[in-house]
Symmetry: C2
Subunit: 307 residues, 2 copies
Amino acid sequence: MQLPTQVTIHEVCPRDGFQPEQAWIPTATKIEIIDALSQTGVTEIQATSFVHPRAIPQLRDAEDVLAGIAKQPGISYDALVPNPRGAERAAATDIDVWHLMLSASEAHNRENGNRAIAETLAGFPAVVELAAEHGAEVHGGLAVAFGCPYEGEVPLEQLAWVVGEYVALGIEHVSLGDTTGMANPAQIYETMMRLQERFPGIGWTLHLHDTRGMALANVVAGLQAGIDHYDSATGGLGGCPYAPGATGNVATEDLVHMLHLMGIETGVDLDAVIAIARRLQAVVGHPLESRILKAGKTSDLAEIAAA
Amino acid sequence: MQLPTQVTIHEVCPRDGFQPEQAWIPTATKIEIIDALSQTGVTEIQATSFVHPRAIPQLRDAEDVLAGIAKQPGISYDALVPNPRGAERAAATDIDVWHLMLSASEAHNRENGNRAIAETLAGFPAVVELAAEHGAEVHGGLAVAFGCPYEGEVPLEQLAWVVGEYVALGIEHVSLGDTTGMANPAQIYETMMRLQERFPGIGWTLHLHDTRGMALANVVAGLQAGIDHYDSATGGLGGCPYAPGATGNVATEDLVHMLHLMGIETGVDLDAVIAIARRLQAVVGHPLESRILKAGKTSDLAEIAAA
């Protein structure tokens, strides 16, 4: 197996993890969690979203969160910027990276943003220009890149088309989301090999949900395709709206635990992440799907047995 | 990625899945479940164990279960045979395969069987001879092959020693268990490549617990090492005694779902397995950890959304 020696974790709990929580998470708590995550060794944190407050009420305090956090040197903080209105809000903050968002399927883009992919794309040149004026980097995010809950399979040609539109905008880092956990390892490997060949010089992140238990298996396939950037959410927060009880984002602690066992460095302090996951369980008031939170680390097991 | 085109599933729910259940599962229910599993297309079923009834009271009805099931042609039924006393019991039944069991670590073997590995091994030649007299095949099972909860790491030399002892007994199929979910994909790949090189002609099965969410990731690594036999338990039954709330065996429906998406044939009817998992949830009276039971198949999602 050919594996990268180092992987970068992009922590998305404060955005994708908090987003579906029904009970209000106080702004001060959000700030506390982001500041704690900033002490774990992660170098990329998705802090919030400039989506319309009516669409995602939980993240309506984006500006207050960003004003309140203690930004640390060496960490890149990003926020979701779904449209020109969101870009105006982002421009009034000091967020480092604007994370654009688009669906790879027409049906999901319409469901999420009430417009065709081409319409969403039409708004992006102005957003990219505004980001440049404010010295912010722009990354391109793609939802349902490996399968759409409405359309089923997303053909590679369709995926390559939307990636190409991002690349044409001058974007150099693209994040591909398995938003509802439909991807399988063979598909991840094949898709990433082909996209890398087709778009040389682009940086790639995989955003893998664990809905059907395949997230870590998909990471193994991604690693073999040479992908060394992965999204994850501490505590595994971020459920799937289509499947109540189903798990959401792959948990940062589950991902880091596996990568470290595989001899792959992340720079992340696993114990610090587990401590935040425990705190998050109290914050959201329901059990989390994190495996390491339930079972403990592999190394704990030997310690417990030896005690 | 180099992948086998076909994988054999060895269904272990009736043994490893039922074993830790506290509430008595009636013999008739066990028979009903095994008979239902016999209609799913699986070709190997571990039906019960000839362990001492005091050690595993849940499986004390081994003889009655085997006498009650409707054995189907084309299916190999096996039972755990841990020692010479168990072998005498097995010899009085028509079970096809005797599955010997041993731990790869001294501490776990002592905890499980109250003796040193060498002492357990000393009992096996008589067992192998008895099996031959009764026309039964013998497989060698190894617990904690990829890590021991008492000793931690199990060195490859130690693992190769116990495998070699099985091979010296004339055993041609060895099953390696990640009994408490400590294995990682890099370790699985490396270990299986080395063992196959060292013991040519031996058939291998991987028995992977999902305690830390790595079972399917480990399957992907195993597939790339050319391993095409996997244990799984319908419903994901079989918890980890060291970690309450932690998951057990990888669920047959989760494994088959992933393999089929990857284009790997199993001959197993996924919907039939899911139906049995639902029935099992009622049988054991507690929620199961099966991901597909909670989230549905990838193909369901597209159907639901389209409806």
